[in-house]
């Protein structure tokens, strides 16, 4: 009798320990995959940071991640070279672009989400079709158009290009977000005396704010770091017009490339984006998942 009880108890204990081992095994594997993914994305950033803190000689001679003889010399050099002006240009272009994109896409997304009109589906698909075209493919015709309009070598032209190129994606994202908000809110607002624009302004704008934040952050990051369009439109206009990505390219293109300076400029360019993203990532994640799951 006692023997059979022991067997049962032992058997159960053995079962528990196996399930625990399995669970720890899975957990361990998950963390390992996470760690590899993080290392994969983080290593280049850390390496650039490491390069930026070295002396020029140590770039070629040392493989240490943490420099043995750290120096802020390249930062001093970079900050003296006009990078602050380029950052200012980039901030100006990014803020105007994001504002423009939101001004256009918010009412458009509201319209596509709420109104059923002839050609609605076709228009939406056309917008999606435009999104499929890589900007690189159309950069030359775009340049020609902008030159004819006299908008090359100006930030205004670049801002217009960014707005045009980013409308399709932003519109679809925001429309998906509007779709998650019950139409009864619109009806209640109309009964309460709102016209369509007032409904958008007073009733829907706040609930849709996480979606707007996603569009804003996404486009800010994109325009902050964009190079091809900026270079095509602004390169003939002198260094005073340059954006940050163009500025870094200038360091890279010097007769003898100063790698520490390129790295320091890159770090200076990345830091505001990281700060901005960390501060707003709560909205970013919430907005993306809500739009995706319910939309």
């Amino acid at each position: 009798m006692a023997g059979s009880t022991d067997t049962t108890v032992d058997g159960r204990r053995a079962g528990i320990s196996w399930s625990r081992i399995r669970r720890y095994g899975y957990d361990g594997l998950t963390y390992l995959v996470y760690a590899l993914a993080i290392a994969f994305f983080l290593f280049p950033v850390l390496w650039v940071l490491s390069l930026s803190l070295r002396t020029e000689g140590a770039v070629y001679t040392s493989l240490e991640l943490i420099p043995s003889d750290p120096s802020l010399g390249s930062y001093r050099e970079v900050l003296d070279s006009g990078i602050l002006g380029w950052m200012g240009n980039t901030l100006f272009v990014a803020v105007l672009s994001v504002t423009g994109i939101l001004v256009v896409t918010t009412p458009a997304a509201y319209g596509f989400s709420r109104f059923r009109f002839r050609g609605r589906r076709t228009l939406l698909l056309a917008v999606l079709g435009f999104q499929m075209i890589s900007p690189i493919v159309i950069v030359l015709p775009l340049y020609e158009i902008m030159r004819t309009l006299g908008l090359t070598e100006s930030h205004a032209g670049l801002v217009l290009l960014y707005i045009g190129l980013q409308i399709p994606f932003s519109l679809w994202l925001l429309k998906g977000y509007f779709d998650t908000i019950p139409t009864e809110l619109d009806k209640a607002a109309r009964i309460d005396g709102c016209n369509r624009l007032q409904t958008l302004r007073y009733v829907l704008l706040r609930p849709v704010m996480p979606g707007i934040a996603v569009v804003a952050i996404f486009n800010f990051v994109l325009t902050w770091s964009e190079f091809v369009m900026a270079y095509t439109m602004l390169s003939s206009g002198g260094e005073g017009l340059y954006t940050l990505s163009m500025g870094i390219y200038v360091f890279d293109n010097q007769l003898a490339t100063q790698w520490t300076n390129v790295a320091a400029a890159a770090v200076v360019g990345i830091v505001p984006i990281i700060v901005f993203f960390v501060a707003l990532q709560r909205y970013f994640v919430r907005g993306l998942t809500e739009g995706a799951v319910k939309g």
């Binding site: 009864e184 607002a189 007032q198 007073y202």
Partner: protein, 378 residues
């Protein structure tokens, strides 16, 4: 004042081959202070009708008249109506007070102090004073529904429109709120059109009910009138729980006959032609279990559903299921044979093809009048 008239209202959706007629030729009149319940199964056009009254949907044909004024082309805010929605539709970023106040802010030029006064008196009426600073997210379902009601009441409209306002609440809360809405509607004496698919709500709350099916009005009348004197087979089956039993019968001389069933033709149905098929309807509660060999049919008890005070027994009579409401437990047992009978006054007859009621009973139980006039509104 708030007399509402709907005149030959028609609403279609889509174009060409995809055209769907959601409401066809609907005419209704709702008296000042009356609570009319629009009831019917999903897709019957009741919510579309309500949206047309509210001005949230355009009307294909016909007119909506409030207090003698045609409002068909007017915007919702100019119709002197207020609406309560199924999912409350409270503005999520505003507090309860903000939700109540918003309509006043948009449609009146009341000062902030006056608006606040109205908010407070409405909140007091609905007992939601302590919720005024809370946002909808932190309110329970019942509290949200109260705030939604408050948002309608505060406007002091001529007509209240309610679109299934209780269907998101659990059963016990629903029954409490049902009483509260009725009480409130009585106190405020505001003309109300209430849409629901729940026939219990319709029966218990309404001054009159309007039953709709496939976009068409089937019957308008006091709840008991629709229950006891349905105009057609659809109304007979839709109103009442459990649903009315329907038997296909043929008149042979002075009997209605079917397999395993014979029933003497009631006096009022004498004029119906012999040899023709009819549908005979009888409510489960009208059927009695009687002594063996004395009933109009014999059936086998297949299932008994005990409900406490009463039970529902499902009988098989010549392969037709007949439901009988009996006394509590023990009155019938599964597998036994029982005889049934029912009074002629409780038998309903319908044309076998069109489903229209024929030879309807006169008056209602305990009522000696020929018809059943509505003392308040007819």
């Amino acid at each position: 004042m708030g007399r509402l008239e709907i005149d030959r209202l028609r609403k279609t959706f889509g174009r060409g081959g995809d055209k769907v007629e959601a409401v066809s030729e609907l005419s209704l009149s709702v008296a000042d202070g009356e609570l009319l319940v629009l009831v019917g199964p999903s897709g019957c056009g009741k919510s579309t009708t309500l949206n047309c009254i509210a001005g949230l949907e355009s009307v294909t044909e016909g007119e909506v008249v409030i207090d003698g004024e045609v409002v068909t082309e007017k915007r919702p805010e100019d119709r002197d109506i207020a609406m309560v929605f199924q999912n409350y539709a409270l503005y999520p970023h505003m507090t309860a007070a903000g939700n109540l106040e918003f309509g006043l802010k948009m449609t009146t030029d009341l000062s902030a102090a006056n608006r606040r006064e109205r908010v407070e008196s409405t909140a007091e009426l609905l007992d939601i004073g302590e919720l005024l600073d809370k946002k909808p997210k932190s309110l329970s379902g019942g509290q949200k529904q109260r705030v939604a009601l408050g948002r309608a009441i505060i406007r002091d409209p001529a007509v209240f429109l309610m679109d299934e306002p209780l269907s998101n609440l659990d059963a016990s809360l629903r029954s409490t709120m049902r009483t509260e809405i009725q009480q409130l509607q009585d106190d405020l004496d505001v003309t109300t059109v209430y849409v629901t698919h729940d026939q219990t709500e319709a029966m218990t709350m309404a001054d009159r009910i309007a039953i709709m099916y496939e976009g068409e009005l089937q019957q308008v009348g006091q709840p008991l009138e629709c229950y006891y004197r349905p105009r057609n087979k659809f109304v007979a089956e839709f109103i009442g729980e459990p649903a009315m039993n329907m038997l296909r019968v043929t008149r042979r001389g002075d009997q209605f006959v079917a397999d395993g069933f014979e029933y003497p033709v009631p006096e009022r149905a004498d004029g119906l032609p012999s040899g023709e098929p009819f549908t005979l309807g009888v409510r489960p509660g009208a059927i009695d279990i009687v002594e063996p060999e004395t009933g109009v049919a014999t059936g086998t008890v297949e299932v008994v559903e005990p409900l406490g005070e009463t039970s529902h027994a499902h009988l098989n009579i010549a392969d037709t299921t007949v439901t009988v409401t009996t006394d509590g437990p023990g009155s019938v047992e599964e597998g036994t044979q029982v005889d049934i009978d029912f009074p002629a006054q409780r038998a309903h007859l319908f044309d076998a093809g069109s489903g229209v009621a024929v030879a309807r009973r006169d008056g209602l139980p305990g009522d000696q009048t020929e018809s059943y006039p509505n003392p308040r509104y007819d």
